[in-house]
């Protein structure tokens, strides 16, 4: 089961989906585009624990984390 994790005021909200399900995958891609358009950064973690930032939806990503835009504090 793939996961999209979105940081928010509750800590985070997790969206689980089956990457083999075309409809679920489309929904996940839509969520990815909506969040990145809103300024969120998407980071993907692979099985080895390595993290990369991505700008395009990866249907094979097991875990994608979205965090809001960073600004000077």
């Amino acid at each position: 089961m793939a996961t999209q994790i979105v940081m928010d005021h509750t800590g985070d909200t997790r969206h689980y989906f089956n990457a083999d399900d075309t409809e679920a995958l489309l929904k996940a891609e839509g969520r990815f585009k909506a969040l990145t358009s809103a300024g969120f950064t998407a980071a993907v973690r692979d099985a080895a624990g390595d993290v990369t930032v991505t700008r395009s939806f990866d249907p094979g990503a097991e875990e994608t984390l979205f965090y809001p835009r960073l600004v000077g504090g």
Partner: protein, 149 residues
């Protein structure tokens, strides 16, 4: 005879004590469930999941963890906090300067720290371009050395 009287006398007390212990246990379990559901606790859990084993061990022991910038190779220390919590470290292990960059939405400390870690490890230059630089003082350094939980 005396033993039977003692058993008879302590029976109700023992039952009362057992009932009290059961209620305390139930309250403790309830508190644990509530505490784990707070934004702070959820963010800390997420942060720990995404830290490397070395960073997790350092965070658990010290309340901060070190990251290496992907562009410069410099070492930064991310302290527990939601602002002014990132220090650039010198080779001797002292805080050289501070960098303040935070998510543009209100998030719990664990989430802020995780976003800072990912930014420094994957796009250091653009993170620092948005950041404000500050001189780390002893007081901010001491305060951020407290264990977060």
């Amino acid at each position: 005879m005396l033993a039977q009287q003692l058993v008879a006398a302590t029976g109700p007390v023992a039952r009362l004590l057992a009932e009290c212990a059961r209620r305390v246990q139930a309250l403790r379990e309830r508190y644990r469930t509530i505490a784990a559901a707070t934004p702070e606790a959820r963010a800390t859990t997420l942060l720990r999941e995404w830290l490397s084993p070395q960073q997790r061990a350092q965070f658990d022991a010290e309340g901060y963890f070190d990251v290496v910038g992907c562009d410069s190779g410099k070492r930064y220390r991310i302290h527990h906090g939601t602002s002014m919590n990132v220090h650039e470290m010198d080779k001797a292990g002292y805080a050289k300067s501070g960098w303040c960059f935070v998510p543009n939405r209100r998030l719990a400390a664990g989430d802020v720290m995780l976003a800072q870690k990912i930014a420094l490890e994957t796009c250091e230059n653009s993170a620092l371009a948005a950041a404000n630089k500050f001189a780390p003082t002893q007081s901010t350094f001491r305060a951020s050395r407290r264990r977060p939980y």
